[in-house]
Symmetry: C2
Subunit: 322 residues, 2 copies
């Protein structure tokens, strides 16, 4: 299989490569990103991997990679994926979610390349929901409340039009908050883990961290389960269909901090910084994975306690080697 991965330098891509290495011997992968990856990608034994520095906002560069590589599968991970930053730079967030995707699918359309596309969306598309509405199924209405959420719904609608109107082979996901080792500390769980590890390493048995609103509840799913879902959708997903990828369980950020503190054996107090509370944040997002389970047999396999332990181990090893 020939797979093009956009957003190659992110941690989801790294885990997807690890999955292919075991489950897709002979796969040929080309990756694109604006920035070179920080992980090693030349040591895989069973797959071949090459990297191209590409700005997906540049149509000529998109044309070159698509027409040269001619992918059979496109895993479109590239995204300006921080909700918080989307409030600060909304236009950049919009362009780097929607316009890059448009450039890709349009190039595949006009080049008439037979390629199965995975359009990765987000649980942020659902927007504010009430307790009575969760777990969210795919037919729930979308009311995005952040620039990032809006951009993701736009991408999804573009996907639908390219699938239904132009006949492209596009499968759409709404991926809930993924967590796992290797995630950058601009994302909340990774940031908490890194801070807690620093407190423990300092030799202290207690400490405090500054947070945004930690009462918000999210559905956290391990990145290794997520990439397995992506691979299975490439094989068995239905064209034009939308699939939630989630754990089906809601956890507050506060719960996660307590859980990680227990793993590390430290006491943590939290202080809320009003500046980190977003203008109009979703209080609660929990998904249902019944559809993807029914259609392709996927379900999450990694419990959150295991994810959190692995994230902590990642930061422990990372901070040991300066």
């Amino acid at each position: 299989m020939k797979v093009l991965i956009t957003g190659f330098s992110g941690f989801v891509s790294k885990h997807f490569l690890d999955y292919l290495e075991i489950n897709a011997h002979g796969a040929i992968v080309a990756g694109t990103d604006k920035n070179a990856p920080e992980f090693e990608f030349n040591n895989y034994q069973n797959i071949s991997v090459e990297f191209h520095q590409v700005d997906l906002l540049n149509k000529e560069e998109v044309e070159e990679i698509i027409t040269q590589f001619r992918p059979e599968y496109l895993l479109h991970l590239a995204s300006y994926s921080s909700v918080a930053n989307s409030w600060i730079r909304p236009v950049e967030s919009f362009n780097n979610n929607v316009n890059i995707f448009l450039n890709l699918v349009e190039q595949i359309r006009i080049s008439n390349i037979k390629c199965r596309i995975l359009s990765i969306g987000s649980s942020e598309e659902y927007g504010n929901v009430t307790e009575g509405e969760v777990p969210l199924t795919e037919d729930h209405s979308l009311r995005p409340v952040s620039p990032y959420g809006v951009a993701r719904v736009s991408q999804e609608m573009v996907s639908k039009v390219y699938a239904d109107g132009y006949g492209l082979d596009i499968i759409i996901t709404r991926s809930f908050n993924h967590i796992g080792p290797g995630q950058k500390d601009i994302f909340v769980i990774s940031s908490f883990a890194k801070q807690l590890v620093q407190i423990m390493k300092s030799g202290s048995k207690s400490g405090s961290i500054v947070t945004g609103d930690i009462s918000i509840v999210r559905d956290f799913v391990d990145v290794r389960d997520v990439v397995r879902a992506y691979f299975l959708l490439m094989q068995k997903g239905k064209r034009g269909e939308i699939y939630n990828i989630c754990s089906g369980m809601g956890r507050s950020l506060k719960d996660i901090i307590v859980e990680m503190s227990n793993i590390l054996g430290i006491e943590i107090s939290t202080t809320i910084d009003a500046a980190r509370v977003r203008p109009d944040d979703n209080k609660l997002i929990v998904g249902s994975y019944q559809k993807i389970n029914r259609e392709i047999g996927w379900e999450p396999s990694i419990r959150i306690e295991e994810s959190l332990r692995d994230i902590i181990t990642f930061w422990q090893e990372r901070s040991a080697t300066p």
Copy 2:
């Protein structure tokens, strides 16, 4: 009142100026467009009007017009508004609907200018609906099926986020198919009218025209009613709210052709050109104007027969002077 009109060179803008001339003495208007207007705008007695050639995709140009003129009202008419052309050039359609709007609202946000913004949307946002679902109210789900429709929903979601998240004063419309004298013949009713007038002028009592799918039903509203709604929304609309602007009546394109043929006293046969049938067109769109009627007292005042007569008169006068 200081009003900035984007898409100044279009026929809606011309009718809005005519409305201001009578109803808003002293209004100061700045208009922007990529192309200079073909109508005369220096002869108004009661309002002052200036024109600036601006590419709204160019952020520097957007900054200049917004910070120099400092509008109290923004009537955002600029749009790549042809559904048919959006299938041919989807990326251009997307950029010239969503990205130009983003540039404008972002500039108003960062310049901290107090300005009431009318974000003009479209009935195409609703997508395919069944007979049981019409007339469509504003809370009906949006399932756009064309690149143009997708772009309009994106613009609307951006409007909601800028209103609810950043506190901008934005009012949102879903304007149904407007018709009226002066509309370009890339739009379907105007195109039919022009062709029928040409047949009549040739001295023939009968003729034939080539069309796309004329069984589709739309809700046609006269542009003069539309601009009155825009003016009233500027005065009395509620921030962050969405308003249908429509006639509440559905008419098939076939009905319209028969009606105009009767006005001209000619017999017309139609031939369907498969190439003009769009990939995935909405069969039926009819709206409800109950919300705007209830909240600001607007209702359509011009019957479709009157609109069609005026459109025919426009083309008769136009074709008389080569």
